[in-house]
Symmetry: C2
Subunit: 231 residues, 2 copies
């Protein structure tokens, strides 16, 4: 099933320019063809093409499919890797696994201190369409760790780190059907002081197993742990 994405589409009317171009020029759809447009807010519109214009494709609604919101929040807060491909790979996989919010973190040991959010959004839109999700996640700007703690430290916030201190496996710390905020540090781990700050603010320190994992692998498997527990 091939999905189009237009956050402003409401069922009848003009499809946005980039999706019109993709629909008509790339996929070569014709008048009368049936396509499905997602608005990223839970709705899929099944539509007929009434005017196959390559910039202003006009659609007529046939039916609407409404999808329930995910029953729990899955917020991935992760320090972007130096290698942008690895970070984009991770973001794509997080989307396949149902992430609802993403915050790139700026940490003491961060290798990457700047991030183009538009690139991240493009990856996420493509992954949303490919994995047939109905809700676009919230995508935040690169956020300093301190500030993130001020906004999001809670009993549902899990900070994964590699130090030999008190921590339990994420799979034991997390309870089914609850929200989760997963904090994954940069290549050199969170600073000890960042972990201490998180714990002081009520976050739960966790382990992701005995293997030494790359940042982007840790991000994917943390999301998968939550996904698996809720299966």
């Amino acid at each position: 099933m091939e999905l189009f994405y237009d956050p402003d589409f409401t069922g009848n009317g003009i499809l946005n320019e980039s999706e019109s171009k993709h629909c008509i020029n790339v996929l070569r759809h014709k008048e009368g063809d049936i396509i499905t447009v997602a608005n990223g807010k839970g709705q899929y519109f099944k539509c007929r093409i009434i005017n196959p214009h390559h910039k202003k494709c006009e659609l007529e609604k046939i039916e609407v499919q409404n999808h329930d919101k995910p029953s729990f929040g899955l917020h991935l807060a992760v320090a972007p890797t130096k290698n942008i491909d690895r970070f984009e790979w991770m973001v794509e996989k997080a989307m396949e696994l149902g992430v609802t919010e993403i915050t790139p973190l700026l940490c003491q040991h961060s290798e990457r201190k700047k991030l183009r959010i538009d690139r991240v959004e493009r990856i996420i839109v493509a992954a949303m369409k490919q994995s047939l999700k109905a809700y676009m996640p919230v995508i935040n700007d690169l956020t300093p760790f301190d500030q993130f703690m001020t906004q999001h430290a809670s009993a549902h916030t899990y900070i994964a780190h590699c130090y030999d201190s008190d921590k339990q496996p994420l799979k034991n710390a997390y309870s089914e059907a609850t929200d989760a905020i997963l904090c994954i540090g940069p290549e050199g781990d969170f600073a000890e002081q960042e972990v201490a700050q998180a714990v002081q603010n009520g976050c739960q320190p966790v382990s992701l197993g005995n293997s030494r994992l790359r940042t982007e692998t840790a991000g994917v498997i943390a999301c998968h742990t939550i996904h698996l527990i809720n299966e």
Copy 2:
């Protein structure tokens, strides 16, 4: 910790040419420096450089660290994706998650019908060093599905597919501390006849959750499911 890999190294003597070059030319190690060499068969040799030759670096053993073999086999049998980058990412992540054997599969719907095994091996060696594993996995050539079934169909063989037929979640089908052979199909899924053949031969049909996953994502999360259950 920085690890060198030489399958023929036994503690004292000459390090292979490519690792000698990396050690001396790239990392600029000197006589007297201490390095660690893994043989991929469970042993780490802590050694002193006695002759820093860039092709035949000579080492003297200080001590040996022996690692236990993994207590269960994790064999990933997966159809390589058309896009080779995606397949190589998956292989790298599978190694981080402790895979012990990899078989690229040639299936009815396979997009990729040829594979350079030397490239796969290079990715795996790099991942083994980075994730500090002690055992190199067995890496098989591209194998037709039929032949793979003849060799590996068993009650411990799990075939993941997207059809609406009897299947249970992998996390329920798998028992802790047992071997697992995970079969992941190509982009267009296994053919129905391939699934039927597997089931007839005693394999267990499984689901990897409700999300629609790319082949390489399915491979990583299937490995992670096994890894997580054994944590």
